[in-house]
C-alpha cells in the first residue's frame, strides 16, 4: 500500500472511530410525553383548522401556526414550510365534550420529530409540542405550548 493510501487509511480509521464515539456520547432527549389513554385513530377533528399562537419555552419567542385535521390525518402548516413533514395520522380520545388528540410527525428529509398533544373543546384548542432534532453529533429540542381557535382553511394549504 502506498504511503498516501496508508495515511488515508489511518485517518479514515480514526475518523470512523471518532464518529462512532461521538454518536455513543450523544445523549438522547425524549420527545414530549403523551399521557396514557385509550388512544384510537381519530376522525373527530376532521375538517377543522385551528390558528394557534405558541410560546417557545427556551427563549419565550412567539410562533403562529395553523393546525389542520383532515381524513384522519394531521398537518402543521409551519412545520410543512420548514421541512417535508407531510400529513400524519392522528389519534384521539373523548372525555365528555373534550376531544384529546395527539400526533407524532417526522420529516422525510431531515432528522426532525415533532410530537403534538392537546385538547379541543367548543372550537378552542390548547396544545403542547416538542420539536426534536437528532443528528449523529448532538440532539437539540425546543418545546412549547399554545392556544388557538377554529379558522378558515389557509389559501396556500399544502395538498392533503
Amino acid at each position: 500500500m502506498s504511503p498516501i493510501a496508508q495515511a488515508l487509511a489511518l485517518v479514515a480509521a480514526v475518523l470512523g472511530t471518532g464518529t462512532a464515539t461521538v454518536s455513543v456520547m450523544n445523549s438522547d432527549i425524549p420527545d414530549l410525553r403523551v399521557p396514557e389513554a385509550d388512544w384510537q385513530p381519530g376522525h373527530a377533528l376532521d375538517g377543522m383548522d385551528f390558528a394557534i399562537t405558541a410560546t417557545i419555552d427556551q427563549n419565550g419567542a412567539e410562533e403562529t401556526d395553523i393546525l389542520r385535521f383532515a381524513d384522519g390525518r394531521f398537518q402543521s402548516v409551519d412545520c410543512e414550510r420548514y421541512c417535508e413533514f407531510g400529513w400524519t395520522g392522528y389519534q384521539t380520545w373523548t372525555e365528555g365534550e373534550v376531544v384529546h388528540f395527539t400526533a407524532t410527525t417526522r420529516c422525510a428529509t431531515a432528522p426532525h420529530t415533532v410530537v403534538w398533544h392537546g385538547q379541543v373543546v367548543d372550537g378552542q384548542i390548547a396544545m403542547d409540542m416538542s420539536w426534536t432534532t437528532r443528528r449523529w453529533y448532538w440532539t437539540q429540542q425546543i418545546t412549547g405550548s399554545g392556544t388557538g381557535t377554529l379558522t378558515e382553511a389557509p389559501v396556500t394549504a399544502a395538498a392533503g
Binding site: I4, A7, H112
Partner: protein, 220 residues
C-alpha cells in the same frame, strides 16, 4: 529577608498560586461564555436548524484541516463553537481535535520528508517547511529533541523514555506554537518514526480531553 537566588525555579506557593489562577480563569471563562450565549439567544429554531447544521459541518472540516497544519491557527474555530453551543458540541469538537492531530501525525509518518517539504513550500507555508526540513536532517531521537529545545539534557532523556507522556504534555503546554502548535508537534512525532500509531492515538485522546471534559462537566 532571604532573597530567592537568581535562576531558581518557582516555589510551591508560586505553583499553587498559578494553578489557582488558572482554575479561576477557566471558571470565569466558562461563565462568560454562558453569558454570551444567553445574550445571543442561541436557541436553534426550526427555521435555521439546517443552516446551523451546515455551518457546524463546514466549521468542523475547516477546524480539522487548519489545526493539522503547523503554524496555522485553528484552535480558535473549536473555541468559537464551544462558546456558541456549549457542552452539547463538546464531544464533536473533541473528536475533531483527535482526528486533526492524527491527520498531522499520519502526514508526517507516511509522506517522505522531501515530499512534505515541497508540499508545504508550494502552499507557501515556509515556517512549516523549514521545521520539517530541519527535522528531516536529524536522527529519529534527535527529532524528538526538537520538541524540547532549550530544555535541560536530562529532560530530553526522560522524554525519550516516556515519549507518549511527553507528547501528551507538550501538546498542552502554552507557547507550543513556537514549534508549530499541535499540528506541528504531531507532524514531527510522525516524522520521527518512533511513535507507534495505536499508542499515539491513545496519548492524543487523553491529551486533548481536559478542555472538552471541563466544558461537559461545568456545562452539565
Amino acid at each position: 529577608m532571604r532573597e530567592t537566588p537568581v535562576g531558581a525555579g518557582p516555589t510551591l506557593g508560586g505553583i499553587a498560586l498559578r494553578v489557582l489562577l488558572l482554575i479561576t480563569v477557566a471558571v470565569a471563562g466558562t461563565w462568560a461564555a454562558h453569558w454570551v450565549r444567553d445574550a445571543l439567544d442561541m436557541t436553534i429554531m426550526p427555521s435555521v436548524e439546517m443552516q446551523v447544521h451546515r455551518g457546524i459541518m463546514f466549521g468542523m472540516l475547516a477546524y480539522i484541516v487548519l489545526l493539522a497544519i503547523p503554524f496555522v491557527p485553528g484552535a480558535e474555530i473549536g473555541i468559537a463553537l464551544l462558546t456558541a453551543f456549549g457542552a452539547s458540541i463538546a464531544p464533536l469538537v473533541y473528536a475533531a481535535t483527535v482526528v486533526s492531530m492524527m491527520l498531522a501525525y499520519a502526514v508526517g509518518r507516511l509522506l517522505p520528508a522531501g515530499t512534505l517539504v515541497r508540499l508545504l513550500s508550494v502552499l507557501r507555508m515556509r515556517r512549516a517547511a523549514a521545521l520539517v526540513s530541519r527535522a528531516a536532517a536529524l536522527a529519529p531521537d534527535d527529532r524528538l529533541a526538537l520538541f524540547l529545545e532549550g530544555a535541560p539534557p536530562r529532560t530530553v532523556g526522560l522524554a525519550l523514555r516516556h515519549r507518549y507522556v511527553a507528547l501528551a504534555v507538550i501538546v498542552n503546554v502554552p507557547g507550543n506554537s513556537v514549534i508549530g502548535g499541535g499540528g506541528g508537534i504531531m507532524m514531527l512525532a510522525g516524522l520521527s518514526g518512533i511513535f507507534s500509531p495505536v499508542q499515539t492515538v491513545l496519548a492524543v485522546a487523553i491529551a486533548v480531553s481536559p478542555v472538552p471534559l471541563a466544558i461537559l462537566l461545568l456545562g452539565a
